[in-house]
């Protein structure tokens, strides 16, 4: 159980994982296998975007207006250089999607990491210390939960944009998004971790550590934290899909990534303006990629939740 956190990073942990219950479950589940293959492909595409792309969509000197609004290569009028066609600024859609996917995933991972760090810290603190601190943290969490996530994200986004000078908006857009989404989603982590912490802190090994004179901080980080991370992994996986969707929503609403550095959501927003013009490919392809990504991540998250739940085995 303690090793679950390191599974993704070290190969030896991977070997151990192969023989675990979870891995056995994984090998038997079609959903898990298909969605993880899909995720691997999409992650690889995002990671190697500069190598796979035929054009750097952020470099305006590579955009030639003469090639604008070309349909996908297999349709009459298409150009083999632009496999999925081009948008109104002659941006190659295939390359734009690769780079956009990259941005969406960066925002997704970074905001999940931020939410997890904030949520785990507060949950651990609340659950371990209890009393007033716990009450304060949990009331803030309750208030945040009573707002729809997208509203809170819009609020954080609006404040950040109000504080920053307008000329910094484009550069800061990605950080603002990470902050907005991260600060929206920490509540679930905090609640889960707090619950588990309250259970764990009554257990004998914690009592033993306490008798041995380990400090409160030491107990929290070294003893309790590793034992409450299991559920966090599940939440993080499902949250990644949510975060990618929230990013796309904000960008679609025009408060996310700027048109010069399009994320998937921005691409869909641009394409949406051309829905009536017959230039369907600008909106369809990024949407398909977004749907595939979020679906795969969510399916994997669902499976993981079931696989880690002993009652469902």
């Amino acid at each position: 159980m303690t090793d679950t956190t390191q599974i993704k990073t070290t190969p030896s942990a991977l070997t151990r994982l192969w023989n675990s219950d979870v891995a056995w479950n994984f090998r038997r589940s079609w959903t898990a296998r298909i969605s993880s293959v899909l995720i691997l492909i999409l992650f690889a595409a995002a990671l190697f975007a500069p190598l796979l792309a035929t054009q750097n969509p952020y470099d305006i000197s590579q955009l030639f207006l003469l090639d604008s609004e070309l349909p996908p290569a297999w349709i009459e009028g298409g150009d083999p250089r632009y496999f999925l066609g081009t948008d109104e600024q002659a941006r190659d859609l295939y390359s734009s999607i690769l780079y956009g996917l990259r941005l969406s995933l960066i925002v997704g991972f970074a905001s999940v990491a931020l939410a997890a760090v904030v949520g785990i810290s507060l949950g651990l603190l609340g659950g371990f210390v209890g009393g007033m601190v716990d009450g304060a943290i949990m009331r803030v969490a309750d208030i945040l939960l009573s707002f729809p996530a997208i509203l809170v994200a819009l609020l954080v986004n609006g404040i950040a944009r109000g504080v920053l000078p307008p000329e910094r908006h484009a550069d800061a857009a990605i950080w603002v998004l990470i902050l907005a989404i991260g600060l929206t989603n920490w509540v679930q982590y905090a609640r889960t971790v707090r619950g588990s912490t309250m259970v764990e802190r009554q257990k004998e090994y914690v009592q033993a550590a306490r008798i041995n004179g380990v400090s409160g901080m030491g107990i929290m980080l070294q003893h309790i934290l590793p034992n409450v991370l299991g559920p966090v992994l599940v939440i993080a996986t499902i949250n990644l899909g949510m975060a990618v969707l929230t990013e796309a929503t904000l960008s679609f609403l025009g408060v996310g990534m700027p048109a010069t550095q399009p994320s998937l959501g921005t691409l869909i927003r641009i394409g949406n303006e051309y829905l009536f013009s017959g230039i369907w490919w600008v909106v369809i392809f990024p949407s398909v990629v977004l749907v595939a990504l979020v679906l795969a991540v969510n399916l994997l998250g669902d499976w993981l939740r079931d696989a880690l739940n002993p009652k469902l085995r």
């Binding site: 470099d59 305006i60 000197s61 955009l63 030639f64 207006l65 003469l66 604008s68 609004e69 109104e88 600024q89 002659a90 307008p166 000329e167 484009a170 048109a259 010069t260 949406n272 303006e273 051309y274 829905l275 009536f276 013009s277 017959g278 230039i279």
Partner: protein, 521 residues
């Protein structure tokens, strides 16, 4: 009882269908900046409030000046013009229209705090001769006085005083007053209700002094920001008239039953201003390379406007070398010649000027003001980059953009000019070419100053002989053209779309005048 109710309901339904035939549902990209006609110089707000309020003289559907609240006028002295006012006109609230209303309204518009003061330059005072006669006292001969007056609407003195609204407000500074959401004019329509950014409802004014050309009983104006949503609303029958109609959707609209595009060449010339001050706002070299005429020529040669017309503007724009449209007084054909698209020549000129590797500068554009403004700028940035320059593209909503232009925090920036409301080249001379200072040079790019242009601008302002005046305007505009004070791009097309049942004149100034609109079955 129940039957009685049902019959009433049926009658109400019948009545509603009957009335809806003359309701015009109208959508634009944004709402007006309030209903106070003196609070902002924005031409859309201005024409919208023209449905409620009226000027002394007005433009008709062909942009000819005709009497409105004044029936006649005569120049008594060069600095004193006498206007005879129309008899029997009443405001929507029932108040009679008279000389004191004109006095209060004109002085409100030229108040030093009024944002509209530049639209009526040189007015010193208004003297009441009798109840239906006023004298306008001017600083000097003002050949364009009537053109200015088409844009200055008359409010009721008593109403302003009763609502504590005589002092002007400035909507661009976010100021609001009683006049922002209430209206009491003499115009063809009355305000029924207003919900900012959602719905403005006007109803026909049955007591209007003029014989209506329109047959409308009601106008419902809805701002719809998204292009695609606006088109969808028209196609679904929810809206009868949209302005603007996105160029990229023209084919879709033409192909649909029951709706059509309304397209015509427009007056508004789109151009790029060039910072010629001592340093760049956001550059990577010392000094300002843009001061060098060869660098400005290089920018000119690097831009392929024909391609932008064909792709971004769907073939609908008129590529031009002139700062004013052919319909505007002061235009000659010689102004239309452009430096040809020639990226190699652009590179050679840059090398000659000492910048073989280019340099960085800001390229500032609005993204919600002109037809496809953001698209034009993105394409232009790509073309400039291909010529070896490093444009840093900034596209922003209009408020931020024009604030930067006002403060000269821009290197190369987009501006559109329709010479409204005067429809005269003097508007370009005074606002965009004269050395800044006083009431002149509001938009003149930093560092541009040509003594001969200044001299001509002053002379044109007071010259009453049309021929001499035109010759001087042409000389000044040609000088500015040779200096590349501005880099002209194109005249943007007018692009509206309407249901087939709606007839509305589309004047070259791109303003929607619904008192000429008719809805047929």
């Amino acid at each position: 009882m129940l039957r009685h109710l049902m019959m009433t309901a049926a009658a109400a339904t019948l009545f509603a269908t009957g009335a809806s035939a003359e309701t015009l549902r109208f959508a634009t990209a944004r709402d007006v900046y309030g209903l106070d006609p003196h609070a902002v110089t924005d031409s859309f707000t201005n024409i919208f409030t023209h449905h409620l309020y009226e000027p002394l003289v007005r433009y008709d559907a062909d942009l000819k000046i005709e009497p409105a609240l004044a029936t006649s006028w005569e120049v008594i002295e060069p600095t004193r013009v006498r206007f005879t006012l129309r008899e029997g006109v009443t405001f929507h609230g029932g108040e009679a229209f008279g000389a004191d209303d004109v006095q209060v309204s004109l002085m409100r518009a030229v108040d030093p705090k009024s944002p509209l003061r530049g639209n009526l330059p040189g007015l010193k005072a208004v003297e009441i001769v009798d109840d239906l006669t006023v004298d306008l006292i001017l600083e000097g001969p003002t050949p364009l006085l009537n053109n200015y007056l088409t844009n200055i609407f008359i409010l009721d003195k008593g109403w302003l005083e009763a609502n504590n609204a005589v002092a002007p407000i400035d909507a661009s500074q976010g100021e609001e007053g009683y006049t922002t959401n209430n209206a009491n004019g003499t115009g063809p329509f009355k305000l029924e209700s207003r919900r900012p950014d959602a719905l403005n409802v006007l109803v026909a004014n049955d007591a209007w002094w003029d014989t209506p050309v329109h047959n409308l009983t009601r106008i419902e104006h809805t701002p719809i920001g998204s292009d695609a949503t606006r088109v969808a609303a028209l196609l679904s029958g929810e809206i009868d008239l949209i302005e603007p109609a996105p160029l990229q959707d023209a084919n879709r609209i033409e192909a649909a039953d029951g709706v059509r595009m309304l397209q015509n060449p427009g007056l508004r010339s789109i151009m790029m201003g060039i910072n010629m001050g001592d340093s760049l706002v956001d550059g990577n070299v010392d000094g300002n390379p843009l001061k060098d005429i060869r660098v400005r020529q290089a920018l000119y040669h690097a831009i392929n406007m024909d391609l932008i017309r064909d792709r971004i503007m769907r073939g609908k724009s008129r590529v031009t070398g002139s700062l004013i449209a052919p319909e505007v007084n002061g235009y000659t054909e010689a102004m239309d010649a452009r430096l040809p698209y020639d990226p190699e020549r652009a590179k050679a000129l840059l090398a000659e000027a000492g910048y073989p590797n280019g340099f960085a500068f800001n390229l500032n554009c609005p993204n919600d003001r002109y037809v496809n403004d953001e698209g034009i700028c993105q394409a232009m940035a790509a073309m400039l980059a291909q010529a070896g320059l490093e444009p840093r593209l900034v596209t922003e909503p209009r408020q931020m953009h024009f604030q930067k232009v006002d403060n000269r925090q821009v290197d190369v920036f987009m501006l559109g000019w329709a010479t409204l409301p005067m429809l005269d080249g003097f508007s370009v001379l005074s606002a965009m070419l004269a050395t800044p200072g006083g009431e002149y040079g509001t938009f003149t790019p930093a560092g541009y100053s040509n003594p001969r242009v200044d001299e001509l601008t002053k002379a044109v302002a007071t010259e009453v002989d049309p021929e001499k005046r035109n010759a001087m305007m042409i000389e000044a505009l040609m000088l500015a053209k040779d200096d590349i004070a501005w880099l002209p791009l194109h005249q943007q097309p007018l692009s509206w779309a309407a249901r087939d049942t709606v007839e509305v004149p589309q004047a070259a100034d791109d303003l929607v005048r619904l008192w000429y609109a008719r809805v047929t079955k």
